[in-house]
Structure formats: C-alpha cells, structure tokens
C-alpha cells in the first residue's frame, strides 16, 4: 500500500449518518425544558395571584372588621368612629386608592362612598351572611372589595350592617408579578443550569468517542491490535466488538498471507518438475525416453491443473463466504451436480453411489450411481422408488455447497482407494432431540485406510495432509469443506466408517450436518438453486 493512503482513509464520506446523538438529545431536552418552564410559569402565575390576593384580602378583611367594630346604634342614630388603623392598614399598599362604605340594615349608606358597586352575585340573605370578596370596576379602575357583615343590636332599626372596603389592585398585582418574576427567574436559572450541566455531560460522555476516532485515524493501515484507550462502560461492548472484528480481520489477513505463501510454494514444485521433465525430454534423443518424459510432463500438468482448480475453488469459497447470499437449495440436486463434475469418465470408473434416507429409521433409497442428472428410475428396483421425488431443502449458498461436496467426493476418490470398494454418499434426515431442529446429514464413506484418531481434527486445516494420503494433494479440499460448513452454521464430523460387512473394511467417514429448512413457497418460481457455473480449468 502506498504510504500516503494510510493517512487518508478511502472515501470516509460514504458513511451513512443519522442525526448526531448529541443534537437529538439536547434538542429533545431543550424542548422539554421550554415546555416545563412554560408550565411552571403558568403555575407560578396562578400561585402568585392566589398568594398576593390571599395576603391582601386579609388586609382588606382586617380593615373592614376594625370598621365594623366601630359601628354603633345609639338612640336610633348610627354612629361610626372610623379607626385610624382601618385605613392606615390599607396604606401597606402605598400606591393604592381605597374606598369604604357602611350600609345599614335598610340598605342606606351610613357613611362612606355611596356609589360603591354591589357584589355581582348580590348580597346574601342575613342568615347566610359571611365575608365576601370580589373584583369590580370603580372610578375607572379595577377594585378588589371585601364585604364583612356585622349584626348590630340596639333597639329600633337594629340589624345586619355590611362594611364594604375596597382597594385598587396595584400592590397585589405588583406582588403577584414579583412572585412570578422571582419564581420564573429561579426556574429559568435552574433549567439553564441543568441544561448546561447536561450539555457538559453529553460532551464528556461523547469525548471518548472522539478519542477513539482519533486513535483509529492515527493508526497505520496494518495496525489491527485492540483499542487501548479507556472507554466508558456504555462503549465497552462497541469497542469489544470492534476489537473482535479487527482480530478476525487480522486472522484472515494472516491466513491469506499464509495461503499465498503456501500456494506459491505448492505451485513451484509441480512447475519445477514440469520444467525439469520437459528439459529432460528435450535433452533426450531416444524417442522412447522422450515419450516417457512427455508422459511425466502430462502427469505433472494434470496434478498442476487439480491444484489450480482447488486453489481457485478455495478462493471462490472464501469470496462467497464473505458475501453469504443464502437461498433455498436442494442438497440432492447439488450433490448430483457435484458428482457429475467430479466422477471421472475414464475407465476404470470408480463406483460412487448416492443414497437418500428420508428419516432415521427409514430405508435408504439409491438415487443414483456414479453421476446422474436425471434419476433413471427404470434402472432401479421398482420397490425402491420413493413415493415422491425426494428433495432435501435448506437455506444455503449453492456454489459453496457444491464446491464442498465436490471436494469431499474428490478427496474420497483420491485417498479412499475406490478400487477397493464404492464411495457412498448418503443424505439422511435427523432430528436434534435437544433443540427440536431438523437437519440434514450428508455423509461420504470410502474404503480407504482411514485416519488415526489423533489426526482427525488436523485433517481439515489448510495444507494439512493425512499420513496415509496419496501423493499429489495440496491439503486444501477438506479446509474448503470446513469453511463452507462453518459458514452455514453446520458441524463437521469425521470418524471411522461403519463396517459394512461387520469389521472387514476400515474406511473414513466425513459427515456434514446442515440445518434443514423447507422454503416458504414451493411454486414454479421458487428455483431451489441455479445450476452452477462451471469454474476452473477444464
């Protein structure tokens, strides 16, 4: 890679973005705060009005009560000795005008402002007389009035006297406004403070992200080691996932490097042999020797072709593995296509049989022998025909699966001594008792020497070759199989073949377990799997 490229990551602008978390969060909270402030403002306003009215109503009432105390009826004459305090107490509101009126039982004014407004609801009857408070316009201003009843005894004309005291609303409105102002100022200050704290908090919370970003930007392209800078708990999962991702990437890169090195090494040997044989043939004058050299050249070229095919297959599987385009596929069709590709046409033809077992305890049907694109039912015993055309559905990648089957069968043909007995491919349905899931078991049995238990696990590593392996393999085939099975979430098992007649043959058995899944729609449009494009060098 060009060193300049490390500083400018490839097209970072192509990242799809959602609105910034900070802005979304702060905007929502801001809206909430504004709403809360408005609500609190109205609450404070109603409270302030009530509080101011309450306190000044007490003043009015006190004034009216002290006036009521000064009313007397002496020999039929009303007497009022208006207390100085009655009006002085109202002067607590220094800017407000005040009015009073004392009304006798006959409804006539004893003293005071004769034209004060009556309460809007009218005066209550004497029985239900209790202090009243109301607002009324008077002399061009809104005035708050209190009316206090007082029963005056004293012979003729005695009865209920009403004392009405009113005051303009300047002071109480000012008090209410003051309460509202203070409350609102406090609320706004509090909200602003909280909002600032929150903003700082969000900034702080998001700072590790910025640090993370800086750290990742500062790295050279090849650095895939885990993130070192500390992150808050909320980001731990993300960073862990990132670390895991980078670790896998790093492993993959390492594997790729190893693979390239190994593949180069593998290709060099047959090529060197090819060149040596060709040169030998050129140096030889003897036609018989030349022919031998040519045959050796052909052998080496064939081996090289197989190696190349495997390498390409591996690369395509690797590529496919990253794409993971799953569709409903029929394993039986794929197997038949694989057999058609793998089983050699030249004599002596090895015997490869494909078996179908619908359930665990059902009988096996022979579906095809060697290779058949169409099942020749006539060639089979009539009673062995399954009652319907069988299919083994699952969700998978047709190309990858086909490559895996090809490699398995190819492996069995290469190392499984086909001259000693047939290679059997069995597709059987199994039910996992633990999970209740159905899956397919694709088993390939050969009649070869088998693999010792100690080596079973190693067999599926890249470029690993069994001890009893025939010459001319790169050790790629089984690695491809394993990758495909893992990519499909399946499992791979290897072991000894069940001896067919008891204990006579020691063979090797590889069994792929794959999740079965019946496609939702099985109409004409639901192509299980497209016929694969043939890859490789013919």
């Amino acid at each position: 890679m060009h060193p300049a490229d490390s500083s400018s990551p490839a097209s970072p602008s192509l990242v799809r973005t959602l609105p910034a978390v900070r802005h979304t969060l702060l905007r929502a909270i801001y809206a909430l705060f504004v709403l809360a402030t408005v609500v609190l403002f109205f609450a404070a306003r109603s409270y302030g009005q009530r509080a101011a009215d309450g306190s000044y109503d007490h003043l009015l009432q006190a004034s009216a009560l002290s006036m009521a105390d000064s009313v007397a009826l002496v020999q039929g004459q009303w007497q009022v000795d208006l207390p100085y305090a009655a009006l002085d107490v109202l002067a607590m509101a220094p800017e407000d005008r005040a009015f009073y009126r004392i009304v006798g039982p006959d409804g006539r004014t004893i003293t005071g402002y004769d034209d004060l407004p009556a309460p809007p609801a009218g005066l209550p009857s004497d029985a239900a007389a209790k202090p009243l408070f109301f607002d009324q316009g008077y002399r061009g201003q809104l005035v708050r009035f209190a009316m206090v009843p007082r029963y005056i005894a004293g012979g003729a004309g005695a009865g209920l006297v009403w004392v009405q005291v009113g005051q303009t609303r300047l002071a109480r409105d000012a008090l209410a406004a003051d309460i509202v102002l203070r409350a609102t100022a406090a609320i706004v200050a509090l909200m602003a403070g909280v909002f600032c704290l929150l903003w700082l908090g969000v900034q702080r919370a998001l700072r590790p992200l910025a640090l993370l970003e800086q750290e990742l930007l500062a790295r050279p392209a090849s650095a895939l080691h885990p993130v070192t800078s500390p992150v808050p708990q909320e980001l731990a999962q993300t960073v862990r996932a990132l670390n895991g991702f980078m670790q896998r990437l790093s492993v993959n890169l390492d594997a790729l490097r190893t693979f390239i090195a190994e593949a180069a090494h593998q290709m060099r040997t047959p090529l060197a042999a090819l060149i040596a044989q060709a040169q030998e043939g050129l140096d030889d004058d003897d036609p018989a020797a030349q022919r031998q050299s040519l045959q050796a050249v052909e052998r080496n070229a064939l081996r090289l072709r197989r190696l190349l095919n495997q390498l390409l297959s591996d690369a395509s599987v690797t590529h496919q593995d990253q794409l993971q385009r799953f569709a409903p596929v029929d394993l039986l069709v794929l197997l038949q296509e694989a057999l058609h590709d793998v089983v050699p046409r030249a004599e002596p033809r090895p015997v490869v049989r494909l078996w179908w077992q619908p359930h665990v305890d059902a009988e096996r049907f022979l579906l095809s022998k060697n290779e058949l694109l169409a099942i020749d039912y006539q060639a089979l015993e009539p009673e062995k025909i399954p009652d319907e055309s069988p299919a083994a559905w699952m969700m998978g990648d047709a190309l990858m699966l086909r490559e895996a089957f090809k490699n398995l069968v190819d492996n069995a043909l290469k190392h499984g001594r086909p001259e000693q007995g047939p290679v059997d491919v069995t597709v059987s349905a199994e039910l996992d008792a633990a999970t209740g899931l159905a899956h397919w078991c694709v088993a390939v049995d050969d009649c070869g020497p088998g693999v010792p238990d100690a080596e079973q696990a190693r067999m599926f590593e890249r470029f690993a070759r069994g001890a009893g392996a025939a010459p001319g393999g790169a050790g790629l085939g089984l690695a491809i199989v394993q990758r495909v099975v893992l990519g499909h979430g399946g499992t791979l098992q290897a072991g000894h073949r069940k001896s067919e007649p008891a204990g006579t043959v020691v063979g090797w058995r590889v069994c792929m377990r794959l999740h079965a899944q019946v496609p939702q729609e099985t109409g004409a449009g639901a192509e299980p799997a497209s016929p694969s494009v043939r890859r490789g060098i013919a």
Binding site: V80, Y84, L87
Partner: protein
C-alpha cells in the same frame, strides 16, 4: 425685588365675613365625601365662597402658555419661586390665586362634577370654567389625598418625581413640596424663658398651676372652624393619649380660639396672649425675621410636621403646563427658594428627619438660635419625635363625616370652660 406691589389687597385677618366662613366650614363634613351624591349639591355653592386674590405674573418674554395655580400660601411668599421659574421658562404667564384650602377643595370637586356632567352631554369643553387651576397647592394634605383617592388627580412621572423618597408623595399624584414644624409660639415678655414648657406634659402642668401665666392668655386653632386646626387636633389625639386632658386644661384656662393663625399671632405680639399652641413655625418665624419679639419652642415629646402638598387636578385645562412647574418646585433649586421665602423645610430633609429622628434646622434667617431639635440630648438618636403628616390613606379616616362629627363634639366638650 418689590414685594409690596404683590401684597394682596387684604389684611392678614381674613376679609371673608364670618357668616360665609362659618357656612364654608360647616360644609367640611360634606366636603369629606363630596363624591357621595347627597352632598354634591352642597359643594357646588362652595365654589362661590370667599373671593380670592388673584395675581398675574406676566411672562418675561412673548407669552406662549398660561399656568393657573390655586394655592393656600400667601402670594407674597410664593412670588420668588414663580419669578425663578419664569427665568427658566420665560414664555409662561402664571396666574396665582391665593385661596383657603377648603375653598380650593370644594372648587376642585365642583369642577370635577361639572366635567362629568359636561362629558355626559358630550361637551366637556364648556363644563369647566376658565379659571380652573392647573395646579393646586394646599396646606391640607388630607383633603389633597382625598382628591387623589377619588381619582381627581393626574399622576406625574418625571426624573424629578421618580427620585422622591417614600412619604414625599402618594401615588405620584400628591406631592409634598415642603414641611412646616408645628410649634408653640410664646411672647417672652409674658412668659419667662425659665417657665417655657418644652413638652405637652409641662404645658399641662403650667396650665394647672395656680396663678398660671397662661390663665386667659393661651390661644389655639378652632378645630371646628379651621381645616388645619382640625387636622392638628386629630393628629394630637392620635399621638397623645392625654390630648383630651390637655384640651380640658386649656378650656379651664379660658383658651382663645381662632379660625386663622395670623390674628392669633397678632394678639400674641400685642401681649393679649402669652402662648399659642400648635402653630406652623413658618408664620412666627416670618414675624421674627421682621423683628417681632416672639419666640418659638419645639415640643420635645413629639413634633408634628404639617405639609404643603401639590397635585394636578384632572380638570386642569393645561396639565402639561403644570408639570414643569411642579418639577421646578421639587428640584433642589426650587426647594431652596421655597425654604428661603416660605420657610418650608425641604421635603427630602423632612422625610429623612421623620424617618431617622435627625435634627432639623429651622429655615429662614433666624440664626443658630432657631435650630430645631426634636429630641433632647438624652433621647437616643433614631427614636424619632417628628411626625410627618405626609399624604396617605390614613389621613382620610378623620374626613369621615360621622367620625368628624363625633370628634368635634368631643373636642368642643373638652375645651368648653366649665363654669
């Protein structure tokens, strides 16, 4: 300056016939609640009471505006302030009418009633006569407060009024222009300085002692016939629980009552009286400056500070002309002129003294002897003995007609000499 030309053509004794004055004063009860329908008809005739002396102060330059003032202060005392104002506003002609405060109050109510009926007819311009004042300056803070409380005064907001202390104004409609300490004036020839009472308690003792020099030689306002006298009597009864005892003692001593202060002071100068109780200090101080052998004593138990208050009535033909004059009177320059010529205590000093109990210097050119100290040296500073009668709601209580009737009955009963 030729003050003689400005002296109104009447003696210091009121020229109004006693009968008309009595009628005017009898109206006071009605005046108190003139807003009430049952007394409106009565107040209307009050505007025809006591003719006033009206003086025209022509504008020094080309006349562009006219300002009419109703005032209960002698023209000769107020002239310097008007002249000073005209130096600042040379295009204003000032008409100054010297009236009784009760008369001014009744006129204001009558004009307001006329304006109401005029606007009811849709012709407010014919309702108010052309001599309606733009500014009313009165020595009755209670009556002025009542006008404002009845909604008959314009508010006045200006830099000058905004900085007034609390107590110097009410609702920025009624403004205190200055204060006048209420003192006892005595004739030192008849009352030796050693015997001069410094408190009301000492006055009571002096009245009661046998062979008292005050026997038959004490005078005071007739509360039943003088607005200011009534105000001072009611305030005495507020602040002094033994006020009725003092009244009774005065009655026993054969107190001489006057409906105006000047005749009382005349008799004091002549030696017919030895002491006059409850005198606004500006009157005796003016006489002392003119060489009269009078002395004043400031009561040390408490001293009332009566006030001159101004308001712009809602019936003013040119209220906008009254505002600059009011601002001038409240400005430091105007206050200085008022203190020098009308011997009113500057309003800010009076308010501060009443609030903090500070000493006040009597205005005028009396000299150091006239320094007023309400509190004697033993009284701790801060315990105020000044009682400022600033405009406010409290003053309205004694304007209630029933209360007034009761009070005056009791007052008259107290001062009735028991035979």
């Amino acid at each position: 300056m030729n003050k003689i030309d400005l002296r109104p053509q009447r003696s210091l004794e009121s020229t109004a016939p006693a009968a008309s004055r009595r009628r005017t004063l009898a109206l006071l009860g009605g005046v108190a609640l003139a807003a009430s329908p049952w007394c409106r008809s009565v107040t209307a005739e009050a505007s025809m009471a006591a003719p006033a002396s009206v003086t025209r102060f022509a504008a020094p330059e080309r006349e562009e505006a006219v300002l009419r003032i109703d005032s209960s202060t002698d023209t000769v005392l107020f002239a310097p302030a008007i002249r000073d104002f005209q130096r600042l506003h040379p295009s204003v002609t000032v008409w100054y009418a010297d009236r009784q405060s009760l008369d001014m109050h009744a006129r204001a109510l009558a004009f307001a009633a006329a304006a109401r009926s005029g606007s009811a007819l849709g012709r407010p311009e014919i309702a108010v006569p052309e001599d309606a004042p733009d500014l009313i300056i009165s020595s009755s803070p209670d009556l002025q407060t009542q006008l404002a409380n009845d909604g008959l005064a314009w508010g006045h907001q200006s830099p000058q009024t905004r900085e007034l202390p609390e107590g110097a104004h009410w609702r920025r409609e009624v403004f205190t222009l200055g204060a006048d300490a209420v003192v006892m004036a005595y004739n030192p020839r008849l009352l030796p300085v050693a015997q001069v009472p410094r408190t009301r308690g000492q006055l009571l003792a002096l009245l009661r002692q046998p062979g008292s020099p005050l026997q038959g030689r004490i005078g005071m306002y007739d509360a039943t016939r003088s607005g200011l006298g009534y105000l001072l009597a009611t305030q005495d009864s507020r602040f002094d629980s033994t006020a009725s005892v003092l009244l009774a003692a005065m009655g026993e001593a054969g107190v001489r009552l006057g409906d105006h202060i000047e005749p009382l002071l005349d008799r004091l100068e002549k030696g017919e009286l030895a002491l006059v109780y409850n005198v606004p200090a500006s009157y005796p101080l003016a006489r002392m400056d003119a060489g009269a052998s009078l002395r004043v004593v400031v009561p040390e138990d408490y001293t009332l500070l009566t006030t001159r208050v101004a308001l712009i009535p809602t019936t003013a033909p040119h209220p906008e002309k009254a505002r600059p004059f009011l601002d001038y009177l409240l400005s430091p320059q105007g206050q200085a002129v008022l203190a020098r010529d009308t011997r009113l205590l500057p309003v800010r000093q009076a308010v501060a003294a009443a609030r903090d109990g500070r000493a006040l210097a009597l205005p005028g050119r009396v000299g150091a002897a006239s320094a007023l100290s309400a509190a004697s040296a033993e009284v701790a500073p801060g315990s105020s003995a000044w009682r400022l009668l600033s405009p406010g709601l409290g003053l309205l209580a004694y304007l209630d007609p029933l209360k007034r009737q009761r009070f005056l009955q009791a007052w008259a009963t107290s001062v009735q000499p028991r035979k």
